[in-house]
Symmetry: C2
């Protein structure tokens, strides 16, 4: 029971991390996030920064939005995109302990592995 329940929790957390990490896994999208970290932007401004077609940028924005990284607020004919600091922190605070644990756990530096 306990095993199954914690496995479910782990699976859910894994999927959450995977979803956000996957969205982070493209240089253009990292560039978009960095741009939005300076200030909120409309799609056209991001198109100017990246040398990509408007439709391509719109796609990347959709991926980031669906993964939860950013929010998009319609403002007349424009859409104002903004980094979601809560989502960033959620990702941080779930991923960081995992990475820290992983960095510390290594039974191979002691010498013989697979003994």
């Amino acid at each position: 029971m306990t095993t199954t329940a914690s496995a479910d929790v782990t699976a859910v957390r894994d999927e959450r991390i995977a979803r956000m990490a996957k969205a982070l896994g493209h240089p253009a999208r990292i560039a978009i996030l960095r741009t939005l970290s300076r200030r909120s932007c409309i799609c056209g401004e991001i198109v100017e920064v990246l040398s990509l077609a408007q439709s391509t940028v719109s796609q990347h924005l959709k991926v980031l939005r669906e993964a939860g990284w950013i929010s998009g607020v319609v403002d007349g004919p424009r859409t104002c995109y903004a980094l979601d600091p809560e989502a960033v922190n959620d990702f941080r605070f779930v991923l960081e302990p995992l990475l820290e644990h992983w960095a510390g756990a290594c039974d191979c530096s002691s010498g013989s592995c697979c003994g």
Copy 2:
């Protein structure tokens, strides 16, 4: 010059983050990393843990190895996979400051964005 140079540095760093994040962007690969964080394993042991075909697991291991997350040492007919704690820390120490910065930078919580 300075702008170009720093842009290059940023681009290189972005690609590094993207490469590792992309590899992290699949639940099965996160499960593999977690498994390897407990102890080094051969491919067959990971196949037992995940319910995936051996060839599929081997593919995931290849992705993780090429992204730098893990190392694989041939040991007779087996291959011993181990988490690379240095790579984990590299990722941590590049990503964390970025996320922290992103979490703090939000010009929208103050009210009017896109003003």
